[in-house]
C-alpha cells in the first residue's frame, strides 16, 4: 500500500500529522497524531486552585475563553457557588465566550480553510480599485509568494472573479475576527487570555458605554456573517458539492451544551443552556448526557497505563518510545462509542432535542441546497454548521448584552475549601470541553482536562475503533496522491486544535526526571 504522510498539517492550531495508507486511490487506513506534549496537569499540581483559571487559558491561544469558562465553572462548583453566580456575571461570561466563538469560526473558515478552495493567484489579473486587492496584486507581481506557496495544485474550481472576491473577503475577515476580540476585551479586559472572568463572577462592571459599544461593534460582525460569511459557505458548497459526500465521521454526536440561561441550577448536565446537552447516536433520537459514561484509553498513545477508565480515575505515564503508539492524544469514548464533537455535533444534538430555532435553520439549509440531513455528516456539513452556529450565537449576544444591569452585582464571595472536588463542562467553538479538579489542603491535588480535539483527533482505541477524524479519512478517494486535497480538507473541517488536545491526565506523582509517574 502507498503511504501519504502529511506532517505538518498547517493552518490548524498546533502540531499535527496525518498518515493515510492507500490501496489504489482509496484510503484503507489512517492515523492522526498530535506531536506536542506540555504536561499542563503536572504543572497545575500543588498550585492555588484559582490560578488554574489563568493557567488553563494558556492551554490554547485560539480558544482561551472556553478554557476560562470551563475552569471557572469547575472552580465555582468546587467552591460551592455554582448556583449563586449573579445574572450580570452569567451574561458577561456568555458574551466573553460568544465573542470567542465568533473570532474562532471566522478565523477558521477564512484564514485556516479558504486557501484549500480559493486560488489567491487569481488576484494577479485584478484590475479594480480595491486597496486590499491592489496590495495583494503588487505582492504577487514582486514574485515572492511565501507564505502562500508552496501549496497543493490542481483543484481550485472558482472562476477568476469569484476567487478575487473571496480573497477580498479573506482580508475583510481579518478585520472581523479582530473586532470579535475587541468586543471580547470590552468585558474580558484583553485577548488572547482574558483577565476578568473569575470564580464567583467577573471583575468588569457593565457600564452603559460598554453595553452600547459592544452592541454596535457586534452589529458590524453580524452584518458580515449575514451578508458575507454565510453566502461564502454556500458558494463553496455549490462549487465543491462532492464534499457533502466526503469526510463522513462516526455519525455519533456529543455536546455538553453552551451559554447558561439560568444561574441557580448547580448541575451543569441539566442546566438550561442555549445549546442543550446530549448525545445522538446515528443521527436519531437524543439521549441525556451522563458524564460517568466518559472513558479514556491510551492503547495507541505515548502513555503507559490502563484503557477505558473514567478521566477522574486514570493514571498516565508519558512514554514517547512506546511501541504501537503514534500520538500524544488519548482516546476518549462515550459508553465505549466513538463520538464526534464540535459545531456539527452541537447542531445535531440541538436538532434532535427539538429546539425550534435550530430545527428551522437546519431544515431550511437542507431544503435550499437540496440535500438530506445525513449529508451533513461531511466536510461541508461541518462548515455549514459552524456558519449557522456563528449567526445564532451573534444574534443571541445582541439580546443578552441588553439584559445587563449597570447597577447590579457581578461577583459573589466564596471560601476555598480545605478539601473538595469540582467539574466544569461546556461546549466551546470546537466542541465538548471538560475540566475536573480535586482540592486538598486548599491546593490543587489533581486537575484534568478532556478537550474537543482529544475526541475528534483521537487515535485507535483498544477495541480497534478509529477516532472520528481517522474514520472520516478512511474510504476517501484521493484523486491525485501528490496533491492530496481531500485529506487536508477533511482534517481542517474538524478545526483541530492540537495545543488543547494533548495532556497528561491525572498525574499522581512528580518523578519527572525519569518520566515515571506512579
Amino acid at each position: 500500500m502507498k503511504k501519504i504522510s502529511i506532517d505538518p498539517i498547517t493552518r490548524i492550531e498546533g502540531h499535527m500529522k496525518i498518515e493515510a495508507f492507500l490501496d489504489g486511490n482509496i484510503v484503507k487506513d489512517a492515523r492522526c497524531s498530535g506531536t506536542l506534549y506540555r504536561g499542563f496537569e503536572t504543572i497545575l499540581r500543588y498550585r492555588d486552585p484559582r490560578d488554574a483559571q489563568r493557567i488553563t487559558q494558556r492551554v490554547c491561544g485560539v480558544c482561551p475563553a472556553v478554557h476560562c469558562t470551563a475552569s471557572t465553572l469547575n472552580l465555582d462548583s468546587a467552591f460551592a457557588v455554582s448556583d449563586k453566580i449573579p445574572d450580570n456575571a452569567r451574561i458577561m461570561r456568555n458574551l466573553v465566550l460568544g465573542s470567542n466563538y465568533l473570532q474562532s469560526h471566522i478565523l477558521h473558515f477564512y484564514h485556516l480553510t479558504a486557501l484549500d478552495y480559493v486560488d489567491i493567484t487569481a488576484v494577479a489579473k485584478y484590475n479594480g480599485n480595491d486597496p486590499g486587492l491592489k496590495s495583494v496584486k503588487s505582492f504577487i507581481e514582486r514574485g515572492n509568494l511565501a507564505p502562500f506557496v508552496p501549496r497543493y495544485e490542481g483543484d481550485y474550481r472558482f472562476d477568476t472573479e469569484t476567487n478575487q472576491v473571496l480573497v477580498k473577503h479573506y482580508l475583510m475577515a481579518l478585520e472581523m475576527r479582530k473586532l470579535s476580540h475587541e468586543i471580547l476585551a470590552i468585558f474580558g479586559g484583553k485577548m488572547p487570555h482574558n483577565a476578568t472572568v473569575v470564580p464567583g463572577g467577573i471583575t468588569e462592571r457593565p457600564t452603559v458605554d460598554k453595553i452600547t459599544g459592544f452592541l454596535w461593534r457586534l452589529n458590524k460582525i453580524r452584518d458580515f456573517i449575514n451578508t458575507i460569511y454565510l453566502p461564502d459557505v454556500l458558494a463553496v458548497a455549490t462549487t465543491y458539492p462532492d464534499y457533502f459526500k466526503i469526510g463522513q465521521g462516526p455519525n455519533n454526536y456529543l455536546c455538553y451544551g453552551a451559554f447558561d440561561l439560568e444561574s441557580d441550577n448547580p448541575d451543569y448536565s441539566t442546566r438550561k443552556r442555549l445549546f442543550p446537552q446530549g448525545v445522538v447516536m446515528g443521527m436519531k433520537e437524543l439521549q441525556p448526557l451522563d458524564t460517568d459514561k466518559i472513558t479514556e484509553s491510551v492503547k495507541h498513545s505515548w502513555y503507559d497505563g490502563e484503557d477505558s477508565v473514567h478521566p477522574s480515575k486514570g493514571v498516565t505515564i508519558p512514554n514517547p518510545r512506546k511501541e504501537d503508539a503514534y500520538s500524544w492524544i488519548r482516546s476518549p469514548r462515550y459508553n465505549g462509542t466513538v463520538c464526534e464533537v464540535g459545531p456539527l455535533a452541537r447542531w445535531v444534538v440541538a436538532y434532535f432535542s427539538g429546539d425550534s430555532y435550530v430545527k428551522n435553520a437546519v431544515d431550511k439549509l437542507i431544503s435550499d441546497i437540496k440535500i438530506d440531513i445525513s449529508s451533513l455528516n461531511s466536510v461541508l456539513g461541518r462548515h455549514a454548521a459552524r456558519a449557522l452556529d456563528a449567526k445564532y450565537v451573534a444574534d443571541k449576544m445582541a439580546e443578552w448584552v441588553l439584559q445587563l444591569d449597570p447597577d447590579g452585582p457581578a461577583f459573589v464571595e466564596y471560601e476555598i475549601p480545605e478539601e473538595g472536588e469540582g467539574m466544569g463542562i461546556v461546549d466551546g467553538p470546537r466542541g465538548a470541553l471538560g475540566h475536573w479538579i480535586r482540592i486538598k489542603e486548599k491546593k490543587i491535588d489533581k486537575y484534568q482536562l478532556v478537550v474537543p480535539t482529544t475526541w475528534n483527533g483521537s487515535p485507535m482505541d483498544e477495541n480497534g475503533q478509529h477516532g472520528p477524524m481517522e474514520q472520516a479519512l478512511i474510504g476517501t478517494e484521493v484523486r491525485d496522491p501528490s496533491n492530496p486535497f481531500e485529506l487536508v480538507r477533511i482534517a481542517r473541517s474538524y478545526d483541530p486544535c492540537l495545543a488543547c488536545s494533548v495532556h497528561s491526565l491525572d498525574v499522581n506523582g512528580n518523578n519527572i526526571g525519569e518520566l515515571k509517574v506512579v
Binding site: T10, R38, D48, A195, T203, A499
Partner: protein, 296 residues
C-alpha cells in the same frame, strides 16, 4: 514606477506554545497583519514570511523543506522568530515540527539548525523569552527559553525578547519595524532582559490610573470594588510594560482597567515566582523583586 522593494526573509516556528502569540499578532491594528504579509511595512522593505504554520498555504514535507532551504540558501540573511519554549527532555521528542525523508524533526533540532544560520532571532512571547507556562514547576518536558537553549548549544546570535502572555501586537510589530528601520537593536536599546526599552521601560504601577488609590491607601477588597488592586494580588508594582498607556485590543481595555489584577505576564518570574496570582506578594519578598514601594 513603484520603488524597488527589498525582501527581508523571516521564518516563524512554534514549539511548546499555545499559538496565542500568533493570534495576538493577528490583532495588530496599524499596520495590520495583512500589511505585514503582503505590503512593505516600512517603505521599500517587505518582510517575506517564508514559514508560519498557522498561516501558510502548504502542508507536509514541502513546507519543512522551506525551512531547510532558508537556512541553506540564505545564511545570515534571515530572521528567526520563535514562539513557545524549546522542549529538551527525552531528546526533544515532546515536540516535533514535521518530517523530512520519513524522519521526524524535533523543535530542538530545528531551532539549532536555523539559529546557527540566522542573522538574528526574535523570541516572541514569554515561553520563548523566559520559558513561560510550559517551564512551570516541575517543568515536565524540560522546556527552555530560546536564550537558555542557544547558550547551552553554544550558538551566539543577536537576540531580542518580546515577552508577554501573549505580547501586545504593537510590541511584536514594533520590534520587527525597529529591525527594518535601524537594524538589530544595540545593547543601549534593550534592558538586561533583552527587551526593547521603548515598550518595556516603565513600571505598570507608575502609570496605573489606580495609582492615586494606592497612594491614598484605598484598596479593593473583592473583584469589582473601587480602589487599588494590590491587596488582590496585582503584580503591577514589579512588572515593566506600557499596558496602562497602550491598552489592548485596539485600545478598548486592559487587565487593570477591567478590574483584574496584573499577573506580571511579561516578566521572567511569570508564572512560578509570581504565584499565587490572586495573593498579595509577601513583604519579605520585596527585596527579591527589587520592589520600590512604601509599605502601605
Amino acid at each position: 514606477m513603484e520603488e524597488k522593494v527589498v525582501e527581508y526573509p523571516a521564518v516563524w516556528i512554534a514549539g511548546a506554545s499555545c499559538s496565542g502569540c500568533s493570534v495576538s499578532l493577528l490583532n495588530s491594528v496599524s499596520p495590520a497583519v495583512q500589511n505585514l504579509l503582503v505590503d512593505p511595512i516600512i517603505p521599500g522593505k517587505h518582510v517575506s514570511l517564508r514559514f508560519h504554520a498557522t498561516i501558510m498555504a502548504g502542508s507536509g514535507e514541502a513546507v519543512i523543506q522551506v525551512l531547510r532551504e532558508t537556512s541553506d540558501k540564505l545564511p545570515e540573511k534571515f530572521i528567526l522568530m520563535v514562539e513557545g519554549s524549546v522542549p529538551t527532555g527525552e531528546d526533544g521528542l515532546f515536540c516535533t515540527l514535521g518530517e523530512i525523508d520519513g524522519k521526524e524533526v524535533t523543535m530542538k533540532d530545528m531551532v539549532k539548525e536555523l539559529a546557527s544560520k540566522a542573522m538574528a532571532a526574535i523570541a516572541v512571547g514569554s515561553c520563548s523569552s523566559f520559558g513561560g507556562i510550559p517551564s512551570g514547576a516541575p517543568n515536565p518536558t524540560g522546556a527552555k527559553s530560546l536564550k537558555q537553549f542557544l547558550e547551552e548549544e553554544g550558538i551566539n546570535i543577536p537576540l531580542i525578547n518580546v515577552p508577554g502572555c501573549p505580547p501586545h501586537p504593537d510590541w511584536i510589530m514594533g520590534t520587527v519595524a525597529t529591525v527594518l528601520l535601524s537594524g538589530i537593536p544595540d545593547q543601549s536599546q534593550l534592558d538586561e532582559k533583552l527587551r526593547l526599552k521603548s515598550f518595556y521601560g516603565t513600571l505598570i504601577h507608575d502609570n496605573c490610573p489606580r495609582r492615586g488609590f494606592f497612594d491614598a491607601g484605598i484598596f479593593a477588597e473583592k473583584p469589582g470594588d473601587e480602589g487599588c488592586l494590590y491587596q488582590l494580588g496585582c503584580k503591577g508594582p514589579y512588572t515593566y510594560a506600557d499596558c496602562p498607556i497602550r491598552h489592548w485590543n485596539n485600545g478598548v481595555n486592559w487587565c487593570i482597567g477591567a478590574g483584574a489584577q496584573c499577573i506580571g505576564c511579561v516578566e521572567p518570574d511569570f508564572h512560578d515566582m509570581y504565584a499565587p496570582m490572586f495573593e498579595k506578594i509577601k513583604e519579605n519578598d520585596y527585596e527579591k523583586f527589587k520592589i520600590r514601594i512604601k509599605s502601605e
